[in-house]
């Protein structure tokens, strides 16, 4: 493997790579990120490779490439396949489609109509990836390269201009200037709190200690958020390049990736990236002839949400239980093994090469007054286009949910967007037009957080959502300080009672009081922000709380103890479908006998409600009203007209 010793050698090497690549040579890119793999992408890759062999394209060298890439974001329609140079985008591709893709699209240059995106409103077929509304309405500076590179290939990253920022930083500007650039760009930390990255770097840089560390916080624990994983899996070199530039600016010679163990593919791709970067001389001694030394190691998290908090992360890296400690001293002064340490989130690091390559103005030209650049959100829940979306700061929530996300499925009514994970809040419809940035989200009681965005519709119970997050946080609270350990537990108790119909007058006020105490007295951000889901749901959906407490009614039909299922005898056609499907065997009846639910056996799983044919619509959900009396046995017989 060639070791690259100077920026000039790097550029020559890059030219060599590009000269060997014919931009007109067909290339089939298949997303093999975790989402598409779960949908069977690995089988699609195998089928495509076999088909290419079968149709005689593999005998000649380099006639067509198959590239396994990271996640481009449109998880909803996976497995995703993009065919270059035409940029033909196929959705929901199955192994059986491989034959046609090779013979029709690659050889005959014809588009296969059934695999392309169809606009749900106009019915228009859209062939090119970048013209699909989901992609068109985004600004994809960080995630856009995912489909263009094989994350295991450093040459692919070099082909799209990779490591040019590193060469520039190390060989053309001083560390102080790099810090200055990042400061000027107004980049704010993407992990949640939004602290100015340049200032954080400066603190660590100015610490008098000689040994310093830099860390990538990839302990992405918010349920429903997976953008960091997509970057690590899909474009690990971009994060590594950012980290190395940061180490140079700060004066650190050792770095760590702290990745949660639930992300094995991310760990694998990062580990490969580090090894390749070492081979090429982008890590190690005297990087690119600049005299700067830097090494990186990967460490696994062991499944503790609190380790995303930076002081807990440091404890975990030292091999201890991840319990946070009071700040100050901040890690910039006293971090890993007592040395100054700079910790940034994956997405923050990935922004760094962009700033170095294009100048601070590149970032400041995008976004709002206080928040610059783009942000990747994971748009999930009750939304048509589930996936990862990268949008400029300042875009409205409405544009994200409706333009990019394609609105709410099944004609249901929008209720709220939850942002910021367990530390965030729920934003109701009346604020759909706010501009999404760090400060605006805070004003409405939510936070940017790491970028989880969960869309909720009329079938989501807001009391249940608050209970869900507190249940999560009770399990994840490390237990070190009592406001968090006990405060969250008590709030959960009250919420559980409310959801079971045991809520009392005054519970809402008590929740507010406990929230305040937990927020003000907790040691770290986990407890400090834990009340947010409760406070924001009370603020905007107080009526739902009151319905649960006063009327013992769950308006969204979610809280099991407050609902029941009932088969309307006038509508039931005794079709046996619900009876067969009921996992609890709680439905009695026969071919000509109206079905009834045994309420003692019913587990309220809702299967009967879902499977009852819509033309009958016989299964009803009840909440806050008594069950109708059972019908007499003799009235259950249905006499059908004979078909003859």
């Amino acid at each position: 493997m060639p070791r690259i010793n100077s920026p000039a050698e790097l550029e020559k090497f890059r030219k060599d790579i590009l000269s060997k690549r014919d931009p007109n040579r067909p290339c089939v890119a298949v997303c093999t990120g975790t989402g598409c793999l779960a949908l069977g992408a690995a089988k699609v890759v195998t089928a495509l490779k076999e088909e290419i062999k079968k149709q005689g394209l593999a005998t000649k060298v380099d006639v067509v490439d198959v590239r396994e890439t990271g996640c481009p974001g449109f998880c909803e329609r996976g497995p995703l396949v993009v065919i270059y140079p035409e940029e033909t985008c196929y959705l929901q591709v199955q192994p059986g489609d491989a034959e046609e893709i090779v013979s029709q699209t690659i050889l005959a240059k014809k588009v296969i109509d059934r695999l392309v995106y169809v606009d749900p409103i106009t019915g228009e077929k859209i062939v090119r990836e970048s013209e699909i509304p989901f992609y068109k309405n985004q600004m994809r500076h960080l995630i856009g390269n995912n489909i263009k590179i094989d994350p295991k290939s450093i040459d692919d990253y070099l082909a799209v201009g990779g490591y040019s920022a590193l060469a520039k930083a190390l060989c053309q500007v001083t560390p102080e200037q790099v810090v200055g650039l990042v400061k000027d760009s107004n980049l704010r930390g993407r992990g949640g709190a939004g602290f100015p990255t340049g200032r954080k770097w400066e603190f660590t840089r100015n610490s008098p200690e000689k040994t310093k560390y830099v860390i990538v916080n990839a302990d992405e624990g918010d349920p429903g958020a997976f953008m960091d994983r997509a970057l690590l899996e899909g474009n690990p070199h971009s994060v590594l390049e950012g980290l190395t530039i940061g180490a140079y600016a700060i004066g650190a010679h050792e770095g760590y990736f702290y990745v949660r163990q639930e992300y094995p593919l991310a760990v694998e791709n990062v580990t490969i990236a580090i090894r390749k970067a070492e081979d090429y001389g982008f890590l190690g001694k005297n990087i690119l002839g600049s005299g700067f030394d830097f090494t990186v190691k990967v460490r696994w998290g062991a499944g503790a949400f609190v380790c995303g908090e930076e002081t807990a992360l440091l404890m975990s890296l030292e091999g201890k239980a991840g319990e946070p400690r009071a700040r100050p001293p901040y890690p910039a002064v006293k971090g890993l093994w007592g040395k100054p340490t700079n910790i940034n989130n994956v997405e923050t690091w990935a922004n760094v090469p962009l700033i170095i390559n294009n100048g601070a103005g590149f970032l400041t030209s995008i976004g709002t007054e206080g928040s610059k650049g783009t942000k990747i959100f994971s748009l999930v829940g009750k939304v048509n286009n589930t996936g990862l979306v990268e949008v400029p700061m300042g875009i409205t929530l409405r544009d994200i949910v409706y333009k990019v996300g394609g609105g709410i499925p099944g004609g249901k009514k929008f209720k709220a967007v939850q942002t910021g994970g367990p530390s965030g809040g729920c934003i109701p419809e009346k604020y759909l037009d706010i501009e999404v940035d760090f400060d605006e989200l805070k004003k409405v009681g939510a936070i940017m957080g790491s970028g989880g965005m969960i869309v909720m519709d009329e079938d989501t119970c807001m009391v249940d959502v608050a209970r869900y997050f507190l249940n999560f946080l009770t399990g994840e609270s490390c237990g070190k300080c009592s406001p968090c350990r006990e405060g969250i537990r008590q709030m959960l108790k009250i919420l559980t009672n409310i959801s079971k119909g045991k809520g009392r007058e005054g519970d809402i006020e008590l929740l507010e009081e406990l929230s305040e105490a937990t927020r003000d007295a907790s040691l770290c951000a986990l407890g400090g922000s834990a009340p947010n889901p409760v406070l924001s749901t009370i603020r905007y959906f107080r009526d739902e709380y009151e319905a649960h407490i006063k009327e013992k009614r769950c308006p969204a039909y979610v809280c099991k103890e407050l609902i029941s299922y009932h088969i309307d005898p006038d509508k039931c056609q005794a079709c046996m479908i619900c009876l067969r499907k009921c996992p609890a065997e709680a439905i009695a009846g026969d071919k000509n006998q109206i079905h009834v639910i045994d309420q003692d056996k019913c587990t309220k799983c809702g299967t009967c409600f879902e499977v009852c044919p819509s033309r009958f619509g016989a299964v009803r959900r009840l909440s806050g009203e008594p069950l109708p009396p059972p019908i007499p046995e003799e009235a259950r017989i249905i006499v059908r007209k004979s078909k003859g």
Binding site: A38, L39, D222, W300, A304, K382
Partner: protein, 150 residues
Amino acid sequence: MDNDKIDKIIDKYPNDPSSLIQVLLEIQSENRWLPREALKKVSKKLKVPLNRIQHIITFYKAFSVVPKGRHEVHVCTGTACHVRGAQRVLDTVQDLIGIKPGETDQDLRFSLETVNCVGCCALGPVMVIDGEYHGKMAPAKSEDVLKNYE
């Protein structure tokens, strides 16, 4: 788990307490649980008292000190899955296999766990069995899926 394998894992890391979590994670992934003998060996080699190891393995969710069943069932209870009805799936799975999350049934057929998010939110609710993803789950469907694992 034989001694050689444990030694091999320990030798991959610096021989000091800071390696503890990484070593335990590798043993866990290799053996699927942490037998007491293995912990004793780790304690001796890395010079970490057993009570501190106990602290670590109860603090972090990735570790198990009891043997796991033949099939590991993970029901995702991430937010996206939750709003799409993961709780109803979990309830049904619990009823069907007769154990709660964190438990293993008596004939060691199933172990049940919940996970906070597997990041396949488009497929939610998701159930992962032995690393195989089953998406768009519903209570009735979960019964059909579980039947395939003996």
